[in-house]
Structures are given as C-alpha cells and as structure tokens.
C-alpha cells in the first residue's frame, strides 16, 4: 500500500533511517544519555574530582558516605567518588578499544573465510572451533597471564579473546551475501577481490555486528572488571572498578560500601550500553518492533 501521505520522497540512506528509528526508541535514548554523561565524566575527571585518586587520608580509613566524602573512603582512606570518576576512563577505554580491536581482527578473519570459502574457510572454521571450545573466561585469563598485567596488555588479551565471536558472525552473514546477484555483478565487471570484500560484502553484512559490538562493549567491561577481580588485568593503585571491587572484598562485613559503589558504577554503565544495544537491534531489525 503506497503511502501517499509523505511529501517528496527524500533519499533516505539506510543509516539515517536507522537513526530516525533509534530516536523514537525512548529507552535507547536514555541509555545513550547515560553513556554520554559517563564519557563526559571520564574525560573531565581530573577537573571534576573532589580529591586526587591517589590522595590517601590515613585519618579517614573506611569512612562510610559523609559530607566530605560523598561516597565514603576505601581501605587506604582514598575518596571513592574521585576513584570512580577516574576509574570510568579505564573501563570505557578498555571496553571500547578491545571491542573495536576484536571487531577489526574478527572482520579480517571472517571476511577471508567468508569470501574465499572452500578449504580456506574450512581451516579457519576448524581453528575457530578449537578456540571456541576453550571457555571464554579461561582463554582470557590465559592470554592475560601470557601478556602480563596492566591496561594495554589487558586490552590486547580481551581483543584476541573476542575475535572468534565476530569472525564467526561475519562469516555467516558473508556466506548468504556471497551468492546474491550484486556480488556476481561486481565480479563480472572484474572488481578486485579486496574491493568486492570491502565495498560490497562487508557493508551489507555489518549491521548484526554493530548490535553485537554495542552489547559486547558492556560484556567486555564486565570481563575486564572480573580479570582485575582475580588479580590479573589492571593492578592497584589504578582505580579500575574491578580492582576496587576486589580491594574491598576483605571488608564486606564492616564496610560494605567499598564494594557496593564500584559495582553500581559497572552496572549503570553496562545498563546504559544494553539499552542502547536493544534500541539499535530494534532499529536495524524492525519486524520485532510492534
């Protein structure tokens, strides 16, 4: 039923259509808002922080929330609010960069497997089977142990551990796209293999990856937090949220607030990203909408 109501039919690129759809989704907007506020906090952390994130006040150990320290102090008398603000940098940086890294590497591997198919695809798929039969957390732990502790090495570990998910997803999409007519068309006008992959195949199989990427930024943040929780990943004194959680474990009984607030920070970040991810998924795949 052609809809005669709309005026001139604007040239609506797929991307702008998705954005329009996304704007209508209230929850996604709330998620985006929270996420942007956090990015702002992370960027302006040094200015916003009431105290330096390493300033220790030995007279005020384990203080519960008071006027001076809004969220209280930790086991070394450092202000938890400032550490959470600065800590946002670690979580967001690690979450975003390792997801981007994993996605990039995954796309390379996936597109090679997807395009060439046959023996190449088989070998890559078997290697991915092997990697994926090691439970995710264990693979990340082993990689973190190999590469060592610290932010940069943790990002590498998380990226490498994330490759197989993206590779498999992209390959699956590429296989359906491969035998569509417009790929044969581009082959017929003898485009180079790389051009076909990059300009035709990837854009058309990328949208599910975008949804997975948004969701996996959230799960990567949790993974990074659990790594430092068990002593790998980011080490004290840097205020990574997982490390702060691990630090507060011994004082669960008298001073639970040391544990509660970092966890809350992780949850709110992950919540906002999940809301955004849900919105994106609905926007990209409308039939679930009504």
């Amino acid at each position: 039923m052609a809809n005669t109501k709309t005026s001139t039919a604007k040239k609506k690129s797929h991307f702008r259509m998705v954005l329009r759809q996304l704007k209508k989704n209230r929850a996604a907007m709330i998620g985006l808002a929270i996420f942007l506020v956090e990015v702002a906090i992370a960027v302006f952390a040094p200015a916003l922080m009431p105290y330096g994130y390493t300033d220790a006040d030995y007279t005020a150990l384990h203080q519960p929330p008071t006027a001076r320290h809004l969220l209280g102090t930790d086991d070394m008398g450092r202000d938890i609010l400032s550490r959470l603000m600065y800590g946002a940098r670690y979580s967001l940086v690690m979450g975003l960069t390792s997801t981007a890294g994993a996605m990039f590497l995954g796309i390379c591997v996936g597109s090679i497997a997807g395009y060439f198919g046959g023996q190449v695809d088989n070998i890559i798929m078997r290697i991915l089977d092997i990697i994926q039969s090691i439970p995710g957390m264990l693979l990340t732990i082993a990689l973190a142990a190999v590469l060592g502790t610290g932010v940069d090495k943790t990002i590498m570990a998380l990226s490498v551990a994330g490759i197989s998910g993206y590779a498999r997803l992209l390959r699956a999409n590429m296989l359906n796209v491969r035998n569509l007519e417009y790929i044969e068309a581009s082959q017929s006008i003898n485009c180079s293999k790389l051009r076909i992959i990059v300009s035709h195949m990837i854009p058309n199989s990328i949208s599910p990856l975008i949804v997975t990427a948004t969701m996996s930024v959230a799960s990567t943040i949790v993974l990074a937090a659990s790594l430092s929780f068990i002593g790998l990943g980011v080490q004290p004194p840097s205020p990574e949220w997982g490390a702060m959680l691990a630090g507060g474990r011994a004082w669960i009984q008298q001073y639970p607030h040391i544990v509660i607030f970092p966890g809350l920070a992780i949850m709110i970040t992950v919540l906002s990203l999940n809301m955004l991810g849900d919105g994106l998924r609905d926007a990209l795949d409308p039939k679930l909408k009504n």
């Binding site: 039923m1 809809n3 009504n290």
Partner: protein
C-alpha cells in the same frame, strides 16, 4: 439492515453489520465497515475482491481468531444456527472452532506446524472434539488422509517432506476432520500452481457435498467463483458492493467496480494491445473516502456518491448493488 434472500427458512449463517478495525503504530485501519451476509445450509458463498479488501478478516471474525492484540470487532453480530458467536465465552467458541466451523488457510507452506508430524496435527482436532480412544483417533485421522488422497503410511512424516499441493490437502483434511457445518476457505488454491488447483477445488467440492456442509469461498479469482459458488458477494474496501446469485452477477454485473473487475480479465481469443486495469489505486484503509469508497476511481461518480452511506438498491434482474446510478450504468454498458 438485515437482508434475507428468501425468508421462508432460517439461514444457517447470518452476519449483521459487522465492523472490524486494526490498530498498528498508532493508526487505526478500517478493515470491515458494516458487512451483512447470510448463507443457507449446503450453499456456497463466494467472496470476491482485491487483496486487502477485508475478505480474510471477515472469515477470521466468524471464528474469532483475529490477532487479539491489534484487531478489534467494533460492532455487529454473527449468528450460526441461531447462536451469536461474538457473545460466546472463550471455552464455548473453542467448542465450535474446528468442529462446527472450520477454515482452510491460504498458504500451505506456513499453515502447518513444521515441527509436528502431519498425522498428529490432524489427530489433534479430532481428539479435542471427540472423547474417543487414542487408537480410534488415529484410525479416523488416517481415514481423513486417505480421503484427501494421501497414503496412510505417510501419517508419521513431517510437513517438510510434503509438496505444496500435498500440504494443502493436509490442511483440508484438518478442516474437514470433524465434519464441520460451515467451511471457510481462504483462497485455498492461490499459493498452488494451476494443475494442482483444479484437483484441490474438485476435492473440496465433493467433500462438501458428502458432508452437506455450507462454505464461504474467499478468492480474487473469478474462474474459481464460477466453478464452485452458488451465491457471490463482491467486496470493496470492507463493504459488500454487489450481492446475488452466481448467474445474476456473471450475466448482469451492475456495480461499476464489478464491471471493472470483469473487464480486467484478458480475453483469450481477442488479441488485445493493452490490458484494462481499473484506474487509480485501492483506497488507504486508514483514510477511507466519504460515501461510496469506490467514488475516486468510478467513471460514473457524482457529488451524491460522496455523501453518506450508500444503501443497497435492487437491480432489474433482482440482485443487489450498492450504487446510486445503477440505471445509468446499465444503460451505458448495454450499448458499449
């Protein structure tokens, strides 16, 4: 306004002023706008119209299987054997579905549950409506399969092992399993290729005769109507615009839309340069034109057509047409 063709005995099915609306994305779609129908036992009524005219909605409202979230029956009554189906409670209507009234669906590829055995899907409707032993249920289900021309050994196979035509036969077996009094066939052959269509139509016709059940055949294919139906109702934008016996409609089409429909059929023995489609586009159901819904596309439309509801008018040969200019249209058509 109740219309009964002949008033001597109570019609088996009577629909009075049925109104159905869908809501999606904040907009309401007026699918059925005051339909009146009646059908005597053993008779077949053909409902003809373009897709989206509301034919399927009428059938589904009879069985009350409209998607309850987005669809709503706003008004009207549906009497079967004197009982108004719309007033029945859910358990009561469930007794009727599949037992007294059954439906054959349009697309056989999706009408059957892909993960259940074909035999079980037939047996299910038998088991629900008859308290008989499981062995007996299976026996009757196998009989139904044989009846629709499928060997009983294939009882335990799955839908994906059947061709389109075979699947439609299973759907028909399901519909007729409990000897329904009323059969609603929603374009049963549209999704099939031509050779299979004929077989399926013949099968429906003689099964109907065997079980003496009445039927509503929904289709947009006038050939099917000619072969199967006794009465015919032409539907446009959720309203019946012309209603009468098959002979009356085929011999004296009176309503401009019906005439347009017949005109659109390409004639085999004439070599035509161009086909003759009806000009313009079907109306937008969320914003129906005032008065007669056909007026924007009707060559005979006048100002009056755009005001208020157009009543039924009796045509010279005795059937009904919802048009103010019946005489003028017939005169012009006679000498064209």
């Amino acid at each position: 306004m109740a219309i009964t063709k002949n008033t001597n005995e109570m019609p088996f099915l009577q629909i009075k002023d049925l109104v159905v609306e869908y809501t999606s994305d904040g907009e309401t779609i007026h699918a059925v706008n005051g339909v009146d129908l009646s059908l005597r036992r053993g008779e077949t009524l053909g409902l003809v119209g373009e897709t989206g005219a509301g034919k399927t909605t009428i059938a589904k409202s009879i069985l009350r299987i409209l998607p309850d979230r987005s669809a709503k029956i706003c008004g009207g009554e549906i009497f079967v054997n004197g009982k108004d189906l719309l007033k029945l409670s859910e358990p009561e209507i469930q007794q009727i579905r599949g037992n007294e009234i059954a439906m054959i669906f349009q697309d056989p590829m999706t009408a059957l549950n892909p993960v259940k055995r074909v035999g079980d899907q037939i047996a299910e409707v038998i088991r629900i409506h008859n308290s008989i032993s499981p062995a007996e249920v299976e026996k009757r289900a196998k009989e139904m399969l044989e009846l629709v021309g499928i060997p009983a050994q294939r009882f335990r196979e799955y839908p994906h092992q059947f061709s389109g035509g075979m699947k439609q036969r299973v759907v028909i077996a399901i519909a007729l399993a409990c000897n329904p009094d009323l059969l609603l066939a929603d374009e049963p052959t549209t999704a099939l290729d031509v050779t299979i269509q004929a077989q399926v139509l013949d099968m429906i016709a003689d099964l109907k005769k065997q079980k003496n059940s009445s039927m509503i055949m929904i289709t947009h294919d006038l050939g099917v109507v000619a072969e199967v139906c006794d009465q015919v109702g032409i539907i446009y934008a959720g309203e019946i615009v012309e209603y009468g016996s098959k002979e009356q409609i085929f011999d004296h089409p009176t309503h401009p839309y019906t005439i347009g429909l017949f005109g659109a059929i390409p004639d085999m023995n004439e070599d035509e340069e161009w086909l003759h489609p009806i000009e313009g586009l079907p109306p937008d159901p969320t914003n129906l034109p005032q008065g007669c819904a056909f007026n924007p596309r009707c060559p005979y439309a006048t100002e009056e057509c755009r005001k208020g509801k157009i009543p039924f008018a009796e045509t010279p040969d005795g059937h009904l047409s919802r048009c103010l200019h019946t005489a003028e249209v017939l005169k012009k058509e006679a000498n064209a």
